[in-house]
């Protein structure tokens, strides 16, 4: 049994796939709350024995609406190099490119800065901390006197080299950490074993998400794309997702959506990656007050709201969405056709720009609007069953996609996996393993971790090597060992459970 949940901007969608691969989907307004939704599911299905995957727009919402309101103290430990004073408060201490601590932190300095701080959240970033996180842990230890753990983010969990981007990402993490943590606590009341859905369409155990919650940023486009692909098996198409507040465009190529790297948040580049999508700020809940507005105030009258929306106009031209009679009463005297037409035209024009012959329509208005949109832009279309909850379907059908950042330093018999020092691996291996041996070692580690988190064996065959570099270490004219960096990822995609 698999349960996929997508908490979107206005609605929460749930998809359940049972042992016989029967698919059921449900839609709830967000006001209902995740606890109530899980309670309701738990009444019919034992959540503990199911695979539960959650996609949440919480990080996106916080970043969109409260980014500047949540104050963050950014502690930066750059050591020698460029000037980072624009990125936060500079502290003493330095880790070098090999992961040696070449300068220690000054505990009194850290205490002084923290005791004078007024911000609610804390970001701790040391240069090269992904090679050795110890300095960040040392500062963390002192910080716990001044901050709750739920408000502190460390940069080594972000994983990639590029310090300025890692600082920016850590600041984002500090701001969204508490809410993701609280959501996690709420879900853990139902099960200790669940996953979050990432912006790139992979899924990660909640423990991993708590360290780097920015991975959850903007996961809905990925969910919609994989859901649309699963429901139609169309490998190349344009997905148009008509939601409550926005209409999103996502291109699928060879069965996977395009990924956007180093996403900018509030003007600053980060290490965040997510599915590339284009958003137009109009959807089924868009307000109508003489003209169609690019924002939402309330749900449609057809669903018990108080203001006329695009959905109500659609009922005005003869569709039957929700309580359509209420809508029709409200829109009397309005030229509904003109405004519905305005929306269709806007979407069709945008859709024309994408290089795809076919449109997959998703979202609760897709079946009413996509046929006309497709006609106007001269493309074929398909609106599959369960299209209104394609996002939750995408969440349910995804496989565990783990990314492993591994660094091997055989001179020191050290293997660092995702910033955690692991001394075991290389004690058995002599100083000069060949490159293939090192890569396989990283791949096996990634598979082992994913299997520990419950991944299916068949899902582990597809491992991408995202990065590899290695070179021998020479001192005093003698080869002392080898350093290698490997990034491998179990490819995001559909889980073999549902294929």
């Amino acid at each position: 049994m698999i349960i996929g949940v997508d908490v979107g901007g206005t609605n929460t969608d749930v998809a359940i796939i049972d042992e016989d691969r029967n698919l059921m989907t449900y839609k709830y307004p967000n006001e209902y709350g995740i606890t109530n939704i899980l309670k309701e599911i738990d009444r019919n299905i034992d959540i503990k024995s199911a695979r539960l995957v959650i996609s949440t727009s919480l990080p996106l919402n916080i970043i969109a609406s409260r980014f500047n309101e949540i104050k963050t103290c950014s502690l930066v430990i750059p050591g020698p190099g460029l000037n980072y004073s624009d990125y936060g408060i500079i502290l003493k201490g330095a880790v070098n490119h090999r992961g040696d601590i070449v300068e220690n932190i000054d505990k009194e300095e850290v205490e002084k800065v923290l005791s004078e701080n007024k911000a609610q959240t804390l970001a701790i970033s040391a240069k090269f901390s992904i090679r050795n996180p110890q300095i960040e842990y040392d500062v963390l230890k002192i910080s716990l006197k001044y901050f709750d753990r739920k408000d502190i983010a460390l940069s080594n969990y972000v994983g990639f080299l590029n310090f300025p981007l890692r600082i920016n990402t850590t600041i984002v993490n500090a701001k969204i950490m508490r809410e993701v943590w609280e959501l996690t606590d709420a879900i853990r009341k139902f099960t200790e074993n669940f996953f979050y859905y990432k912006g790139d369409g992979g899924i990660i155990p909640w423990q991993v998400a708590l360290r780097n919650p920015s991975e959850l940023y903007n996961s809905s486009p990925a969910a919609v794309a994989y859901g649309a692909y699963y429901l139609t098996k169309e490998e190349n198409a344009l997905v148009i997702d008509i939601g409550g507040t926005t209409t999103d465009f996502i291109l699928i190529r060879d069965g996977a959506p395009e990924i956007e790297e180093r996403v900018k948040i509030h003007g600053k580049r980060t290490h965040i990656r997510c599915v590339k999508s284009f958003s137009i700020p109009y959807g089924g809940d868009s307000l109508f007050d003489g003209e169609l507005k690019p924002y939402r105030i309330d749900k449609p009258i057809a669903f018990g709201g108080k203001h006329i929306t695009l959905t109500d106009l659609l009922n005005g031209v003869g569709e039957e969405v929700g309580n359509f009679r209420e809508s029709r009463r409200a829109v009397k005297g309005i030229d509904c056709e003109r405004y519905v037409d305005y929306y269709i035209d806007m979407i069709a024009k945008k859709a024309k720009e994408f290089d795809a012959d076919k449109i997959i329509g998703t979202g609760y208005l897709a079946r009413y609007l996509i046929p006309e949109i497709a006609k106007r832009c001269g493309k074929k279309f398909i609106v599959p069953k369960h299209s209104e909850s394609a996002n939750a379907v995408g969440v349910a059908v995804s496989r565990i996609s783990l990314t492993l950042y591994a660094r091997f330093d055989t001179e020191r018999s050290i293997a660092v996996y995702n910033g955690e020092v692991n001394k075991e691996t290389f004690e058995k291996v002599s100083g000069h393993p060949d490159d293939e041996e090192i890569i396989n070692s990283a791949i096996n580690k990634a598979k082992e971790l994913a299997a520990n988190f419950g991944a299916n064996e068949e899902d582990l065959d597809d491992v991408d090597i995202l990065y590899f570099s290695s070179f021998p270490i020479v001192r005093g004219g003698i080869m002392r060992g080898k350093i290698a960096d490997v990034i491998v990822q179990i490819k995001p995609g559909l889980s073999s459970n549902v294929l």
């Binding site: 750059p78 050591g79 020698p80 190099g81 460029l82 000037n83 980072y84 330095a94 070098n96 490119h97 090999r98 070449v102 300068e103 240069k127 090269f128 080299l161 590029n162 310090f163 300025p164 981007l165 180093r262 580049r269 570099s469 070179f471 021998p472 270490i473 020479v474 004219g477 003698i478 080869m479 350093i483």
Partner: protein, 360 residues
Amino acid sequence: MKTGIVYHKKYLEHEQDPRHPERRERLAYTIDQLTEEGLFEDEDIVLLEPFPASIEDVLEVHTKEYVEFLKRESERGGGIIDFDTNIPKGVFERALLAAGGAIRAAKAVLDKEVDNAFAMVRPPGHHAKPYTGAGFCYLNNIAIMVKWLLKRGFERIMILDWDAHHGDGTQEIFYEDDRVLFISTHQMPLYPGTGYPHEVGRGRGEGFTINIPLPPGTSDEGYFYVFEKIIEPVAKEFKPEFIAISAGQDNHFTDPLTGLALTARGYGELMRRAVNLSRDLCKGRLVAVLEGGYSVEAALPYTNLAIIAAMAGKDISHIREPKSYLAELKWRKRDYAMQKIRDNVSEVIRIHSKYWSNLR
């Protein structure tokens, strides 16, 4: 200011022997440092992809016989040029890519793709002479680039070679050429044993070769002194249309082969002064080409960063080595060196005041 970095993964492939001082590890840590500093994604930095130099461009500098020898031996592998320089399989293609990398840098500056550029290439080039490679070098990258520029109509090009070793190959190539001013600072005595102040050029090139030998322990102050007393005044008189720097990084105080005691910050400062000269004299047209530098862990990540940061006009005030390395600087720096530098500078001025009125 936009600075180009010419780099290709293939530059890491060249290796005579994993234990050789000029080995892959040299650039590997630098790439780590630059990546972590975010430079490859900085809007002031443009990563430039090199192309291999054409044989025609190489033959502007090297003899047909040598090029054919190198090509043949490189296909086979195992040949020997000198004690430090053997011919590993495939080195010819990598050497062409290094020389092409220098041309790529110059081309990017001419095309105004960038303001200045650093060709972070391997193998190095400045010991390579027309008829042979030498001292870890196979093709003379900077000379091939300068010849390429001369063919494009430039008439006055200044080469500043601050590698710790004398740039004997480059000197020989332009020894009789008054279009190219070659200034070299280098430790003496040291390999290759040339570079005395009295080597001033020949024929039309007389006065256009300036050698400034430096004693061990020279340090940042010594270099700044040489810059002020000789390099800047001569450059102002010569009025180059293009400045090319043979950027050796073996002057660093942790270098295992030399003893010049320059710091990473000192490198940044030298480059800042060179950039200022290029701005004042030739619309900022400047290309640096990597030469030597063998302190792979303690120096290169910081010195390369310093050079690039200075070229891109970034704040270099925080660039330094980790404090734990400074003990080494203390014993490498020698007080008597400054007097020796003053003496050497006086001698160079005495010899060259005949050619350069700014030195009188």
